[in-house]
């Protein structure tokens, strides 16, 4: 899958180099490319397809939603605009285009609500089916509006009057100028979206939607948002096609249109915004070249199909991705020295971390963003909590309460139901019966996203990181959720403007001692570092109550000491519940311990009491040990 680099959050200004380069290229293209034999009509077409592809790339390259049904919105936007211009006597081309975009976006909402209920392959299949429905509707019942299989002809070109002069657009270079301007605007908007906080969140959703939801983002809401945006881009491209050709073709709705869009984007490189443009240029050029110069006649489609398959197999990131890789490869030699020093730094970071931890009196604390409400009583209370999986009872009638500020441990032999218990507390899984309340509020049956927004979150037993993103980006995503809320549509905002994002991320980095590794992709971290990042992710949401599922698992003795120190420091000002098997650490760290066995609460008390409890000993070591 295309490697998307989330824009660095750090700089105060946003570099506009890419936008500038695009503007220059668009202006320079006519004189340069016409020498190569590209006619203005072809170039306008490439731009229209490129615009169509920008929306699709936002959907697929950045968010990971593969839709084979974008033609539905392409056609909707195009035919709405064409109908308004040819049958209703509307004279303003720009207004018709805008209404076309609106129509496409509205359809996007409807279709998205249905299709986004499922993910992955199901989602792709549903988009195919829905696009087919649009195609049928366009051909038969709505033929009076769409012209049926004939399409709508006579779509006028726009005329711009500025009071002192009018500029009519003709086919040819003036049309190219108009479409290039529209493309540029579309590109600007898309670049802003990608660099906004929402762009980061989309990358997170593509990487690990589960965790994105668990740190407090409304994943479904964002998916619907980007789906509608992609539909809007498709609608605009459709409208522009009608204006370009003076004719709106019925096959704008066909599956072929969607399929070719996918192929062009993959060939050019998904996740780059420019990929569809490159892909469309290659496709159109090859199609004409293969038919004419190479004399292949009807076999041009076979050649393009083979090229596509080969690209998917071997150059999955497409042409642009391949070029990027090449540049990195070439640029790697001089920075080899830098890498070696990096690695050395990492190693010293490990060992140095312990030394530093020893030297550091106490890491700075990070108070929770939400002041715990002064309501008396336990911060978390579960009563009669039961979970059944068919015939298996994972948790049986558990009563559990934790006081604010407490450091609670949960232990139990394997299969005791500890992880299931945690899953119910964070509402990842709904209990079969029983209830949970957090800060006096009933949370049974809520969604994990909402619970996290309330201040209850978990770090996972098996690290659930955003593997393709850097450490800093990982923490940014978690921090964004708590700073911005579940869903906020700030598409055009710069992340630098999110208040206290920087400080929150930096503080977390320092706390988990990964400041020196902050620009390393999470997948490249050592195991211990990954576990620290896992805790950091939960921490960055500034929770009031933090659950930790086996934070010490797989760690070396040195790492354990360090992590225990970390846990102790973050426990200041918040409540912690920790599951683990390392009883020495837990006995040292926690104030009270709950013991689970076979889904039931076996015992609860101070570490000393639990150590000496015969029932607990029997549960771990067998009944013979007690006797």
């Amino acid at each position: 899958m295309a490697d998307v680099t989330v824009a660095p959050i750090a700089p105060a200004h946003r570099h506009l180099l890419a936008e500038l380069a695009t503007a220059v290229a668009l202006i320079a293209a006519p004189p340069l490319l016409s020498r190569l034999g590209f006619a203005p009509d072809t170039m306008s077409r490439i731009l229209v397809l490129g615009l169509f592809g920008i929306g699709f790339d936002l959907l697929f390259g950045y968010t990971g939603l593969l839709s084979f049904g974008q033609a539905a919105f392409f056609g909707t936007g195009g035919f709405t605009a064409a109908y308004l211009l040819t049958r209703t006597g509307m004279s303003s081309v720009m207004l018709s285009l805008a209404l076309g975009v609106l129509a496409a976006a509205l359809c996007g909402i409807g279709v998205g609500l249905i299709a986004l209920r499922r993910t992955g392959i199901y989602f792709a299949m549903i988009t195919v089916a829905i696009a087919q429905v649009f195609f049928f509707l366009e051909n038969s019942p709505l033929a009076d509006f769409t012209g049926g299989e004939n399409g709508l002809a006579g779509v006028p070109a726009p005329t711009f009057s500025l009071g002192f002069a009018t500029f009519p657009i003709h086919s040819g270079w003036s049309m190219y100028g108009f479409i290039a301007a529209c493309y540029f605007v579309g590109l600007l908007v898309a670049r802003r979206i990608v660099q906004s906080p929402i762009g980061c969140i989309l990358a997170a959703i593509r990487d690990n939607p589960l965790r994105a939801a668990a740190v407090g983002h409304d994943v479904h809401g964002y998916k619907l948002l980007i789906f509608v945006i992609a539909a809007a881009y498709s609608g605009l491209a459709g409208g522009l096609l009608g204006v370009l050709q003076g004719y709106m073709p019925p096959d704008a709705f066909s599956f072929d249109t969607s399929g070719q869009l996918v192929m062009q984007t993959v060939i050019g490189g998904a996740g780059t915004l420019y990929g569809p443009l490159v892909g469309a240029a290659v496709w159109l050029y090859l199609r004409d070249f293969l038919q004419e110069s190479a004399g292949l006649g009807a076999q041009w489609k076979l050649v393009l199909g083979v090229i596509f398959v080969l690209l998917v197999c071997f150059l999955r990131r497409g042409i642009i991705g391949g070029l990027k890789d090449l540049i990195i490869l070439i640029g790697r030699k001089p920075t080899g020295a830098a890498e070696r020093s990096d690695a050395g730094g990492a190693r010293s970071g490990e060992g140095g971390g312990v030394a530093a931890a020893v030297r550091r009196p106490d890491p700075p604390s990070m108070p929770p963003s939400r002041v715990p409400c002064g309501a008396p009583g336990p911060i978390l209370a579960a009563s009669a909590l039961t979970k059944r999986y068919g015939g298996l009872v994972a948790n049986n009638n558990i009563h559990f309460a934790v006081e604010p500020g407490e450091l609670r441990g949960v232990i139990g032999p394997n299969g005791a139901g500890k992880s299931t218990f945690f899953k119910m507390l964070t509402c990842e899984v709904a209990p079969t019966s029983g209830s949970i309340s957090f800060q006096g509020k009933e949370i049974t049956g809520m969604q994990v996203t909402d619970v996290c927004q309330l201040g209850l979150t978990k770090s996972y037993q098996v690290s659930q990181l955003f593997t393709r993103l850097t450490v800093r980006e990982n923490l940014t995503i978690a921090a964004l959720a708590s700073l911005r809320g579940k869903l906020r549509i700030d598409l055009l905002k710069s992340p630098a403007r999110v208040r206290s994002l920087h400080s929150r991320v930096d503080a977390t980095l320092e706390l988990i001692d990964l400041t020196g590794r902050c620009d390393v992709p999470a997948a490249a971290l050592a195991y211990g570092e990954k576990r620290r990042l896992e805790i950091g992710l939960a921490l960055a949401t500034a929770p009031t109550l933090l659950l930790l599922d086996e934070p010490l698992s797989g760690m070396s003795p040195m790492e354990r000491i360090e992590t225990v120190k970390l846990l102790r420091s973050i426990s200041r000002g918040r409540t912690l519940i920790i599951i683990d098997h390392d009883m020495d650490s837990l006995f040292e760290l926690t104030e009270r311990i709950t013991v689970l066995e076979r889904g039931c609460v076996l015992a609860e008390g101070t570490p000393q009491e639990i150590k000496n409890n015969p029932a607990v000993q029997a549960a771990y070591l067998g009944p013979e040990s007690v006797a």
């Binding site: 072809t42 049928f136 038969s140 004939n150 038919q291 006649g297």
Partner: protein
């Protein structure tokens, strides 16, 4: 002696001073005029720029853009058309006698210029066709564009022609709209179409099958299908008192007709009129046979697809009535048909279907119009077309109707032969009647034709 010596020595010396002056003046004048003489084309451009004129015709050759389906469901028809075009252009460039019978003023090429062409795959897709022809116009300065196998493509290219001011000649497009409400000043249709075909076929059906019969229509769900059905229904009601038992409308591209055919089988109809075209026709007829419909009901196909009998099999087509633009056995009565078949067979080893015939005829008639106009200036060529000169063609005498740019030409009514009666492997049909369409055609404005402007 000395006088002769004087004379000799003068000629030996060369030219006199006066002669030098005269020659110098001549050189000077000629030299000034020479660049102009070289730059001006053989025919002075008397007309303003319009479309690809004069850019497309300044050189020694002109370009023709051809877009036919080479992939997709109509690919076989498209390949046949392409062969017709290639043969016609070859004949045009070499001044073949057949072509000169249709276009008497042709010598070699068109107005002395060689005709070059480009072929693009339209995939039977209006958008792809529009793209391809737009490219031919802007890059190659095509002076004429042609080719299609569906009315949707024809309508789209009609509009493109009007916008770009480049003449467009249809190939296979039988919907009434192409010279009806979607007609344009720059588009010309040669082939048969729904209305007169229905009017020509109806009396044949009535006289051969009887009066007061019940019809089951198999209609494809697009404009062509609906207009043909309407025309057939009106004609049969009026001429034979026939009635409609059922009208089964299937979406384009249906592969499974069993539901419709069951309804037809249960409808109690006497005649099945199958309006499907292309692959839909092949599938629906084959499946009709499976349901035993062919045994109980007569079959009529208002406009029979090229290669239909070849794909469906003579067994299923026996006794079926249909309309066509051309069938190769016309060579028995029409000498030009014989010439066309021979040339086509020699080059391609099979007899041309009516797509190839349409392609050939359109190119020939275009050459004639341009020769008559004396220039490539589009309005002149259009006016030459609209003058309606009578031309000889493989289907007899034809001429264009100026009011809607439809060629007035006969409808060929065919009937499928029994396999045992076939004299050769492709002798699928007998030509029952060659119907003069002139009295059958609707008034030019009956379908809302309003030709656009010349420029």
């Amino acid at each position: 002696m000395s006088y002769r010596k004087q004379h000799r020595s003068r000629s030996a010396r060369g030219v006199s001073r006066r002669e030098v002056l005269q020659m110098g003046a001549g050189w000077a004048v000629g030299g000034t005029l020479l660049p102009y003489a070289l730059a001006t084309p053989t025919r002075a451009a008397e007309h303003p720029e319009l479309g690809t004129y004069p850019a497309g015709s300044v050189g020694p050759s002109v370009f023709v853009g051809i877009s036919c389906p080479r992939t997709g469901p109509y690919a076989a028809v498209g390949e046949d058309e392409i062969k017709g075009y290639q043969l016609a252009i070859e004949h045009l460039n070499t001044g073949d006698p057949l072509l000169r019978k249709i276009s008497p003023r042709t010598t070699r090429g068109v107005l002395g210029k060689e005709v070059k062409y480009g072929i693009a795959d339209s995939e039977a897709n209006p958008n792809t066709a529009v793209q391809a022809q737009s490219r031919f116009i802007s890059e190659k300065k095509a002076v004429m564009m042609t080719g299609c196998a569906s009315s949707a493509v024809a309508v789209a290219l009609n509009k493109l022609a009007q916008r770009e001011k480049v003449i467009y000649l249809t190939c296979l497009a039988a919907s009434n709209d192409v010279t009806g409400k979607d007609c344009t000043r720059y588009g010309f249709r040669e082939g048969i179409y729904a209305y007169p075909t229905a009017q020509a076929l109806a009396p044949v059906l009535v006289s051969n099958i009887g009066r007061g019969k019940k019809i089951a229509f198999l209609t494809p769900d697009y404009t062509y299908g609906h207009t043909v059905r309407q025309s057939m229904e009106e004609a049969l009601k009026a001429q034979g008192g026939w009635s409609v038992a059922t009208n089964q409308v299937s979406p384009l591209g249906t592969t499974e007709f069993s539901s419709y055919l069951l309804n037809v089988a249960n409808s109690g109809a006497d005649v099945v009129i199958n309006i499907n075209f292309g692959r839909d026709a092949v599938l629906s007829i084959k499946q009709s046979a499976q349901f035993g419909i062919g045994d109980r009901m007569a079959l009529a196909i208002p406009i029979a697809t090229p290669f239909l009998a070849q794909e469906v099999g003579a067994d299923l087509m026996k006794g079926a009535y249909g309309g066509m633009g051309y069938w190769w056995t016309l060579e028995e009565t029409y000498p030009l048909a014989r010439m066309l078949n021979e040339a086509f067979r020699k080059k391609y080893n099979y007899n041309p279907e009516y797509g190839a015939h349409s392609a050939y005829l359109q190119v020939a008639m275009w050459a004639d119009a341009v020769e008559r106009a004396g220039s490539f200036y589009p309005p002149d060529v259009i006016k030459a077309y609209e003058a309606g000169a009578k031309l000889q063609s493989p289907v007899g005498e034809v001429y264009f109707r100026g009011a809607d740019h439809q060629l007035v030409r006969p409808v060929i009514i065919i009937k499928g032969k029994k396999p045992s009666a076939m004299r050769s492997s492709d002798d699928y049909y007998e030509v029952v009647k060659v119907v003069d369409a002139a009295p059958l055609m609707q008034k030019p404005d009956a379908f809302g034709c309003q030709l656009g402007s010349y420029d």
